[in-house]
Subunit: 381 residues, 2 copies
Amino acid sequence: MFTSIFTRAIKQSPASIRMMSTNSSITARAIIYSSYGEPIDEIKCHSYNINLNELNENQVVVQSLATPINPSDINQIQGVYPSRPSISIDSLPNLLKPSSVSGNEGLFKVIAIGSNVKNLKINDWCIPLNVNYGTWCTHKLSNENELIKINENLSINQAATIAVNPSSAYQMLTYYEKLNPDDWFVQNGANSQVGRAAIQIAKSRGINSINVVRNRDNIDELKKDLYSIGATKVITDEENESKEFSKEIKSWLNGKEIKLGLNCVGGPSATGLIRKLGNSGTLLTYGGMSMKPVTVPTGLLIFKNLNIKGFWITGNIKSIPNSRIDTINEVTKLIESGVLTEQKYNETELNLDSLTDDQLLEAFINALKNSKSGKQIIKFN
Amino acid sequence: MFTSIFTRAIKQSPASIRMMSTNSSITARAIIYSSYGEPIDEIKCHSYNINLNELNENQVVVQSLATPINPSDINQIQGVYPSRPSISIDSLPNLLKPSSVSGNEGLFKVIAIGSNVKNLKINDWCIPLNVNYGTWCTHKLSNENELIKINENLSINQAATIAVNPSSAYQMLTYYEKLNPDDWFVQNGANSQVGRAAIQIAKSRGINSINVVRNRDNIDELKKDLYSIGATKVITDEENESKEFSKEIKSWLNGKEIKLGLNCVGGPSATGLIRKLGNSGTLLTYGGMSMKPVTVPTGLLIFKNLNIKGFWITGNIKSIPNSRIDTINEVTKLIESGVLTEQKYNETELNLDSLTDDQLLEAFINALKNSKSGKQIIKFN
């Protein structure tokens, strides 16, 4: 109620821009790179001013609330990711050499809007409509149409990471094979963020999951955890790769065939999933953590009429119209209804009022160094 | 004209069956096996009588004109092929133990028909509607609905081998990727019967082919031969597997992407094809001559959105309604119009009038022994 009165009042003001703060200029900081290489060596902090009085009518200024470190962000800086922003002198004001801003995913809050902005208002939460947005920053000058409004009922962590991991799980379980209640799918890397989201989404639809994880000292604890979020079965890599154990798996299926496999590992683990697929089943590969290729036995490929496909959510943005927005809307509902619960993050909190260039850079370098030990997220307050 | 008068005359006869010969009984011989193992050890000849006076109204008796030795026939006897006829005491009359008749493909001539047969007449050529028909025989008692009439304009060899190799080439170039004139596909095993048919079908549609063959002493002769039937480019396995050579290939494409790959080899040869596919390209695997699996680099699979599928014409009979009859009709047109020319066969001719059990068995054993040195076909006259 207050917001709507406030907005209307602002709209009646003669100024061409509306903003929360009375300061007309803010210092924005961004993590940039100018050449491809190891991220901790390549990234720098660049600071510049955004004048809130000089917005075009469709422009908005957003302030970052949280941004995660994703593998694709790292691969972009390494120069090995096929979707990359251009390294250009025009990426930001006052650059000394051609650069790109790192980061593809993150949650922002609107802090200023141009006179003709229609779909966003001050304090709205939003995420980038596309990849290559450059999310590793404190503030950003954008066009309204580069952003999607996000429901503020979500937690900051969930909203900041909605576009990649849970969205991948949603699309893989929705766009490829028609999975009905009591059907089965199988996945490796089941304790990853994608894997855990897939377990929860499947459970909510009555779909059974066979979840492959690495054996470890606390395997029973991990199994208990995955069962608690809805896993039907949890098995180890050794069991996945054992022909003997496949009889045990067959006994679980009650005559059903496994329609879908989700692979983020490759090598023998992927081949283990392939051996479990039923006739005309599909294996989707969305990662290759073992650095080994996907190896498909010829007889299975031919006589079981298997489909071995890649899954790339960034590719789907172009190839499946509206997939980004539709998926985010559906995943938002899944979070609001409690199907998708908050995952574990290693959080670094930064205070925007006192932040320096060095502190921002250090936070990202540390997060990059720790990125193998858990999901890293940088938060701003 | 003569045929139609003859048929009508026959139809007016009071007999419940119509036949060419006045003999009421013939000796039929079939190559059978009773257990799975190496074909030359397992196969036997079984002879029995067919009484031409005792046909049911929808039955026909056919006499074999020609039957090829296909890899799937061998794999069936070995027990390693997923589609197999049952080994049953009812397979043929007078069996001493449960048996199956070998062979899945062949051309027959109708020599007697029951009173209500509508779609076949004496002297018509026909092939089995389905696999597992048991084509390695001299004669067979069938139902009309087990056979498809075949145009007698074809050569005996072409008609006898229409259902597997050229039909596979036709379906692979037709059912999966939309290939327009000037598009490209790539295949290994290009000098196989499927490969040669694919070259000719593609050529007739203005589609370009890159054809991978094993290097050999007479490689220039082979290249000349494949160019003469319509190959656009012929390369060796080494060139297919070379990253360096891919630049040369790119220069041929004129900006086009390769949409389809056909693989019957597996291993590094299949991976070479995969590396050549464009975005959203499809690799169909219809064989595995190297006995090595299909290995797909993870990055290509994901970022090129590749589709790696199996192709099995026998599976398509069930999964794509009418595919068998439709394909044979289309391939018949391609043969009649000269697009598909006669391939090379190693022929063994047998005279039905003087044939003994031992001669029939010996002919098939010799053909099996020679089956790696060229396509074997047994012909009856």
